[in-house]
């Protein structure tokens, strides 16, 4: 497998306050890679910087330091044309399906925007054919979704439309940022399965989520993020089966499960209190092949 996306030393500092007088480090020195045909889940709580990383990779937000390589090329220098070409191969789907559509236009306008930029020469009939194929790939019935306003469609349909939109391009890589967290329980799993289908097509997928069971379900590898820093990463089975970092263990203990009650002793608060350090200065160490853990302070 070839490395599709590679992050190295990625850091994002926001300037806040008047004239950028204050700084807030959202992401610090993040490095990981993602192969074609692989789903990597990026798991973190709110404020962990997980969505920021997705936006950095998609160039929706400029990087403060470090590099992001896509198929070997540094994307941070892309501008205008090269950026548009990059977006031909790398796309995103976001959390809130209703925020992803401009409410004043019909939902299928997302296709038209793609056509205007990337396929200006394609004829109407051929385009309709392409759209039909893409909808087919995400199991949507064109008659039910085309020419409708976003509010007339369900969240699941809207998210599928966005995946179809990405498929219209020659994408190799998809950032899926919490794409099912706002969907209803009875339909969300099917949208998640869609990511599995895309993976089977050879796409690389970065699945960003706060939900450990979803990450566990769909991904090959898992990156655990805390306060902008990677604390543990490796194959999903290893990270979930043999979590080494206290934070990962705390998350696993706190996640409500369907058939296991929370144990009385593993109080999340006490563990969290023991995790006050911000991880600066400590290093990620490979404890076994492909399984990296940040050394805890004092350890």
């Amino acid at each position: 497998m070839s490395v599709l996306v590679e992050l190295d030393g990625c850091t994002k500092v926001y300037r806040i306050g008047s004239f950028g007088s204050k700084r807030l480090t959202a992401v610090r020195d993040v490095a990981f890679g993602l192969d074609a045909g692989e789903v990597v889940s990026l798991i973190g709580e709110s404020g962990s910087g997980k969505s920021t990383i997705g936006r950095l990779i998609l160039r929706l937000s400029p990087l403060t330091a470090g590099s992001i390589r896509f198929m070997g090329e540094d994307v941070s220098t892309f501008k205008g044309r090269s950026l548009r070409e990059y977006h031909r191969h790398a796309q995103g789907v976001f959390q809130d399906p209703f925020s992803s559509y401009n409410p004043i236009y019909k939902a299928d306008r997302v296709f038209k925007l793609i056509k205007d930029t990337y396929f200006p020469a394609v004829g109407a009939r051929e385009w309709a054919h392409k759209v039909g194929d893409a909808l087919d790939a995400v199991s949507l019935d064109p008659a039910q979704v085309l020419h409708r306003y976003p509010h007339q469609l369900s969240g699941g349909q809207l998210q599928r439309l966005l995946v179809a939109r990405a498929l219209l391009l020659d994408i190799d890589f998809l950032v899926a940022d919490e794409i099912i967290s706002m969907l209803d329980a009875s339909t969300r799993i099917d949208v998640l399965n869609l990511l599995g289908d895309l993976k089977a097509r050879g796409l690389g997928i970065l699945f960003i989520t706060h939900d450990l069971s979803l990450g566990n379900y769909i991904s090959d590898r898992t990156v655990i993020l805390r306060r902008g820093v990677i604390v543990e990463m490796g194959e999903t089975e290893k990270v979930f089966g043999d979590p080494r970092h206290a934070y990962t263990r705390m998350l696993l203990a706190a996640v409500p499960q369907l058939r296991h009650k929370w144990s009385a002793d593993g109080d999340g608060r006490t563990v969290a209190a023991a995790l006050e350090g911000d991880g600066i200065g400590s290093a990620l160490v490979e404890i076994e092949r492909g399984h990296l853990v940040r050394l805890e302070e004092g350890a």
């Binding site: 806040i16 306050g17 008047s18 204050k22």
Partner: protein, 332 residues
């Protein structure tokens, strides 16, 4: 907190510099020699006065100097409180004309602004309470807030002074009255003050009432109000909270509305020949007495900036959110 105030002060300082620069720049932007143009437009019969005015102009404009020096000297005289000399009321300095007029204007402006704010907010809160009041008070509010100040002044003057003759009109007191700290004279002052005050007060009141009514309705729909209601809090408590919270933006509004009230005061004074700044500015404009216009402009700017700063401080005291947000270094 200090940072916030400093930031505000910076804005006000910038505003002041901008205003002074405009004040200085406007005559310079006019084509040709401004002094000659001005001399051409004002007709002064007395050659002695004309000569003096010419010299005065020349000195003020410092036309023989490089532009930056002209600008510099403008600031220098400003710092010394020298705003030039009036032509119409030669040789009174502009500063003394302003100082004589200011008490009258403030005497109208401050009570009208504060009372209209207080009464308007109370009325607005009342309107938000009952549908009947809402339907009767509100249309009045819209009418008042859409009324040009001077027209209400005209109307009042026509009705109360000319038609019914219950109140005097013109000047701040009866010219034949004996001035002094007497009840008679005080009453006379008051009787001359009532109509201009009322016209200012009524128009401003309408705006505040509408604003408060809308704000309260918004507050009553907010989460904390719903929470209190779902815990069975009586309406009285919910409304009390809503009123208090709605007052906060109205305080900021006070600073922003100041300019409007000042303009209202100016034109009201004109209608009633009330000898404040508005009356002076009207005389200056009809007689092309430019230094007076410029001087009053600068004076108003300074007044507005000071008032804004006071409002900022008051707001900071009453709203815990800004206070605490600032302590944490957040943006205001």
């Amino acid at each position: 907190m200090l940072r916030y105030l400093l930031r505000k002060l910076l804005i006000y300082a910038l505003t002041f510099v901008a205003a002074v620069t405009i004040d200085w720049g406007i005559p310079h932007l006019m084509p040709g020699n401004p002094v000659l143009t001005l001399m051409g437009r004002i007709q002064i019969q007395n050659p002695q006065v004309a000569q003096h005015v010419y010299a005065n102009y020349m000195r003020s404009f410092n036309l023989d100097l490089p532009l930056w020096k002209q600008y510099y000297y403008f600031w220098v005289s400003l710092v010394h409180g020298d705003l030039g000399t009036s032509i119409l009321q030669f040789p009174s300095p502009v500063s003394s004309i302003i100082l004589h007029a200011v008490p009258y204007t403030l005497g109208l402006l401050i009570p009208a602004t504060l009372l209209s704010w207080y009464v308007g907010n109370k009325l607005g809160a009342l309107a938000a309470r009952r549908k009947v009041l809402d339907n009767t008070l509100l249309p009045f509010g819209y009418l008042l807030t859409a009324t040009p100040y001077m027209w209400l002044a005209i109307l009042m003057s026509f009705l109360f002074a000319v038609t019914w003759q219950v109140l005097p009109v013109g000047f701040a007191y009866d010219p034949t009255a004996v001035q002094g700290w007497t009840w008679t004279f005080g009453l006379d002052l008051l009787r001359h003050w009532v109509l201009p005050f009322l016209s200012l007060f009524l128009v401003a009141c309408g705006g505040w009432a509408i604003g408060m009514r809308n704000l309260i309705i918004y507050e009553l729909e907010s989460d904390y109000a719903h929470y209190l209601e779902s815990l069975g809090a009586p309406r009285k408590l919910v409304r009390k909270y809503a009123f208090r919270n709605a007052l906060l933006p109205q305080i900021t509004g006070l600073a922003l509305a100041l300019g409007a009230v000042i303009a209202g005061a100016l034109v009201t004074e004109i209608v009633f020949s009330y000898p404040g700044l508005g009356y002076q500015i009207y005389r200056a404009i009809t007689n092309e007495d430019y230094f007076v216009i410029q001087g009053i402009f600068l004076f108003i700017i300074v007044g507005v900036l000071i008032a804004n700063f006071v409002v900022d401080i008051v707001y900071m005291i009453v709203d815990p959110r800004t206070r605490i947000g600032m302590q944490e270094g957040g943006q205001a």
